[in-house]
Symmetry: C2
Subunit: 267 residues, 2 copies
């Protein structure tokens, strides 16, 4: 009977069995500071308590839902209150991501079935099979890569908005963004204060344009933020080029934020 061991604690192996995970996984979570045992024995043994089991269960649930350990840590880090608030958002995003993955899998499965069907025909040479599959792939890959940044509802709303716009309207919107950013740049170059009347006028234009785009939907804004923050992963196509053209530079957003502060101060 060990006197060192506080009551109702578990050594790592017991705890692993309780949670249905391996010892190594627990080591891993400990190193990531995702789940550290409540205590350590004098000699360094990990001693998990009952609350740790609750946390582990939460972790396992979120892992099952496909979140990365990093995301799980972020979600569980909040002193709670925030956790309950962010959970629904996370669920929605994760659902969208998984639905997209499933759609991708479905396409691959259809392609395989198609290929199997055609591979039956001995008259068809193999290289032809590869060629046609490749064409299918290229066609399918032309799906909108921006989708993954938005919640499903937000993306749906965006698509409706885009569908309702003519080509000229889209070009015009792009042009107005570019013009606005140009004006902001020029204001910065001329040393105009964000606090000035001109600064505040620019802010007003920015906000109007933004609302036009986000439809006042904060989820769209959130998605757009994530999209813009991930520029390094954009593919190299025309969509990306258009996006880059209307992407505000850090100094522009800095100017914008300062000007907003100024407006708030002045009421």
């Amino acid at each position: 009977m060990s006197l060192v061991r506080p009551m109702s604690t578990f050594r790592i192996q017991e705890f692993a069995k309780l949670g249905g995970v391996t010892v190594r996984a627990l080591h891993h979570y400990d190193r990531l500071k995702l789940l550290s045992p409540a205590h350590r024995s004098e000699r360094g043994y990990r001693l998990y308590c009952h609350d740790d089991l609750g946390r582990l269960e939460r972790i396992l649930v979120l892992r099952y839902l496909g979140l990365s350990l990093h995301e799980i840590a972020a979600l569980l880090k909040t002193p709670d209150g925030g956790g309950a608030e962010r959970l629904p958002v996370t669920l929605a995003r994760q659902r969208a991501a998984l639905a997209a993955r499933r759609a991708g899998l479905d396409r691959v499965l259809r392609t395989i079935e198609h290929a199997q069907h055609r591979a039956q025909d001995p008259a068809e040479p193999e290289w032809f099979l590869y060629q046609t599959i490749l064409k299918e792939i290229h066609m399918q890959e032309s799906t909108d890569w921006r989708a993954k940044y938005y919640s499903p509802e937000a993306y749906q709303a965006l698509r409706e908005q885009r569908a309702a716009m003519t080509v000229e309207q889209k070009a015009d919107a792009g042009e107005r963004w570019r013009a606005l950013l140009g004006d902001v740049q020029s204001a910065i170059d001329r040393g105009i204060s964000p606090d000035s009347a001109e600064g505040r006028a620019l802010v007003a234009r920015w906000i109007r344009l933004g609302d036009e785009f986000t439809l006042g939907n904060p989820e769209i804004l959130e998605g757009y933020r994530r999209l813009n923050d991930d520029e390094s992963h954009w593919p190299d196509d025309e969509t990306a080029a258009q996006l880059r053209a209307i992407k505000p530079k850090p100094e522009h957003t800095a100017f914008f934020n300062k000007a907003v502060q100024a407006c708030l101060r002045h009421g």
Copy 2:
């Protein structure tokens, strides 16, 4: 105009664009010897030819279907003839694997939807939500892990066979396997030659028993082989224990193979 560069070859970047992949990926494929350029310039530049493009396209198709680069290399390594033969088998297996993944994704998605629905209720505490999801997970995880080793048709056949057997029949079959392996072990211990009459008698028993199990279906045999070859990844449940009990040791299979050779030699 470079005189060093043979006609109709591409440097790595051109080639990457033709194939729609990155330069780094081509480096990677080269290092894995999956796709090495037809030539190198004097100074070490990779020079890809038109045939390389064909091979790359094959690689991309198979990658799209979810095969690992290792599997792709194996499939493409055969001097062809074997390639055309193994392709349908590969497609079937891959389809089964992807279908399983899709089913898993479906379950997760349903779980998320369920959770979203219940998270609406503000009366329900968060921990309770986690608890019930965890229960769902445990229920879903109790699916037969052996399925992934078999083609869908083979697994279906196996299940029908199992359903048709009574508990006693199953126990009896296990017992006969264990007895056979015991007798083989004893034959080895006693220095009996696989070539002897006793050796050949054991082979006959082995084959009969095997046929009873595989129903003469080579796909089942194939799946069983893969299952047995992957013992290190079996989970730690009762099914695994039963499987281990009837798993022939390497020396048993060696004895078996020698005895089969002997039978073949003697007609």
